[in-house]
Amino acid sequence: MRVTLTVNGSQRTADDVWEGESLLFVLRERLALPGSKNACEQGECGSCTVLLDDVPVCACLVAAGQAAHRRVVTVEGLAPRGELGPVQQAFLEAGAVQCGFCTPGLIVQVHDLLRRTAGAGLPPPGDADIREALAGNLCRCTGYEKILDAVRLAASRLPVMP
C-alpha cells in the first residue's frame, strides 16, 4: 500500500508498504531517516521514540498505515540540518553519550518533557519527573547519571525551545 505522511515538516510518500509494517521500518528503510534506532521492536527500549502528532510514541509499535496523513517528527527534525538543538547540545556537554544508540530516542523524549514543563513556562522538571519521563528509554552504557545531568542542563537554559 502507499502511505503518505508529514515527516519533519515535509510531506513524504512511501510505496509498497507491507500492511503489517511499522512506522519505524518506513522511516529507516523507506524514507532514509535512520536516526530512530531499532533495537527491541517490542516497546521496551525507547530507542525508536518519535513524536506522532506531538506525542512521544515507540515507532516500532505504530503500524505504518496508522501514521498516514499524520505528523511525525524524528530526531532528525528537532534541529536544522548540521546544527544541534538545545537538548543535543546539553547531551554532548554533559558527556551523556557513549555508544549513542539510545541517544536519539532520549533526545526526542527529553525534548517532549522540556516542552511540557520548563518550555511551557512551568518550573523545570525535578529528578523524580525526569526519571519517570525516561522510564521507557534504556541505556546500556552511561548508568543514567550523565543523562540526568544533561536534562538538568538543558532545562536550566530554557526558554529556548520552539
Binding site: G20, E21, E29, E41, G43, C60, Q66
Partner: protein, 306 residues
C-alpha cells in the same frame, strides 16, 4: 541495521489495512471481515506482528474512529470510550475513577501509556492486564458493539480464559460503563521493578460506603478474578460493627482475614515471574495494605466533611 524486509513480513500473503472513519464504518467492516484484527494503540498487536507471531488477514485501525476516543457522563454512569489511552485515564479520570488512574499510571512507560488503550487491554484479555482488577472492583460493564446492536457484558463475565473474552467475532469493544467511584479506590501491583513491569500479581479495591465493597485480582489465575468471599466478609464486618458510620480504625484481625480470603480466591500458577506460593502470599499482603490505605482515606474524608 540493513534489513530490507520488514520483520514478520509474509512475502506474498496480502494483508488488508482498513481505516474506518466512523463507528458505523468500523462495525460494518468487522461484520464483513470477521477475522480482521482490530488495532488501537498497537502495543500488543505490533509486538506480535513484529515477531511473526501473528499474521492477520486484515488490520482494522480504530485510531481514526472519533466515537471511541472520548469519555463522558452517561446518566449515573461514566462511559469511557475504548480508545481512551492510559495517559488520559491518568490525567483526566483521577478524580472520578482513582483506581483506574492508579492502574494506568503503573502501565509500561510514558511512550506505552501515550498509545495503549483501555479497549486494547480488554481486547488482549491478558490475566495480567492492569485495568481489569479495577474494572472488576468497580462493577464495570464492557459495551460490545456490532451491526446487530450493542450489548453490555459485566466485567466479571467478560474474561473466559487466558487471552479469551466473551466478545463475538463480529463485535468491537466500544466503551466501558462504570459508576464514578462512590468511595475510595485502590490499586496495588507487585512487579520486579518500578517501570515497565508486567504484574506478578495485583489487587484492586473499591469501598462503597454503607453499601459494600468490590475487589479484583490480577495475574493470579487464568483470568482476572473477583474475591467474592473477601468482599462478603468485609461488607458484613463493616456493616455489622457499624464501622461505616463510626469510621473507627479497622481491627487488625479484619484486615488480615480480608487478605487471607483474597489470597484464597486466587488460582495462581508457577511461571517465570513468580511461584504460585509467592503470588498467594503477595496477594494477601497487597489486599491487606490496599484495604488499609482505602480505609484511611475513608476516615480522612469523614474528618473533612465534619
Amino acid at each position: 541495521m540493513t534489513t530490507r524486509h520488514p520483520p514478520g513480513s509474509p512475502g506474498s500473503a496480502a494483508v488488508e489495512f482498513l481505516r474506518p472513519r466512523s463507528l458505523s464504518q468500523a462495525l460494518a467492516a468487522k461484520a464483513e471481515l470477521q477475522d480482521a484484527l482490530p488495532i488501537a494503540g498497537g502495543t500488543d498487536v505490533m509486538v506480535e506482528i513484529n515477531f511473526g507471531k501473528r499474521r492477520p488477514a486484515a488490520l482494522l485501525d480504530l485510531t481514526g474512529v472519533r466515537e471511541l476516543r472520548g469519555w463522558q457522563r452517561d446518566g449515573a454512569l461514566l462511559r469511557v470510550g475504548s480508545g481512551v489511552t492510559y495517559t488520559r485515564l491518568e490525567a483526566e479520570l483521577a478524580g472520578l475513577l482513582p483506581g483506574l488512574a492508579m492502574a494506568a499510571r503503573t502501565v509500561g512507560s510514558p511512550q506505552i501509556r501515550n498509545r495503549g488503550t483501555i479497549g486494547g487491554n480488554l481486547g488482549a484479555a491478558s490475566p495480567a492486564g492492569d485495568c481489569h482488577p479495577v474494572l472488576l472492583a468497580a462493577g464495570a460493564a464492557v459495551e460490545a458493539g456490532s451491526v446487530r446492536g450493542a450489548r453490555l457484558i459485566p466485567a466479571d463475565a467478560f474474561f473466559l480464559g487466558p487471552k479469551r473474552s466473551a466478545l463475538a467475532d463480529d463485535e468491537l469493544i466500544t466503551a466501558v460503563l462504570v459508576p464514578p467511584a462512590p468511595g475510595p479506590q485502590q490499586f496495588a501491583k507487585v512487579g520486579t521493578r518500578n517501570a515497565m513491569v508486567i504484574a506478578v500479581c495485583s489487587f484492586a479495591l473499591e469501598l462503597r460506603p454503607g453499601a459494600g465493597v468490590g475487589t479484583g485480582i490480577g495475574s493470579a489465575g487464568p483470568t482476572p478474578l473477583r474475591a467474592r468471599d473477601a468482599e462478603d466478609f468485609l461488607a458484613a464486618e463493616l456493616a455489622g460493627s457499624g464501622l461505616w458510620e463510626s469510621r473507627e480504625p479497622l481491627p487488625g484481625a479484619v484486615a488480615r482475614r480480608f487478605g487471607e480470603l483474597a489470597a484464597a480466591a486466587a488460582r495462581p500458577v508457577d511461571d517465570v515471574r513468580g511461584s504460585a506460593a509467592y503470588r498467594r502470599h503477595a496477594l494477601s499482603v497487597l489486599a491487606r495494605r490496599a484495604l488499609g490505605w482505602a480505609w484511611d482515606s475513608y476516615r480522612k474524608e469523614g474528618h473533612l466533611c465534619g
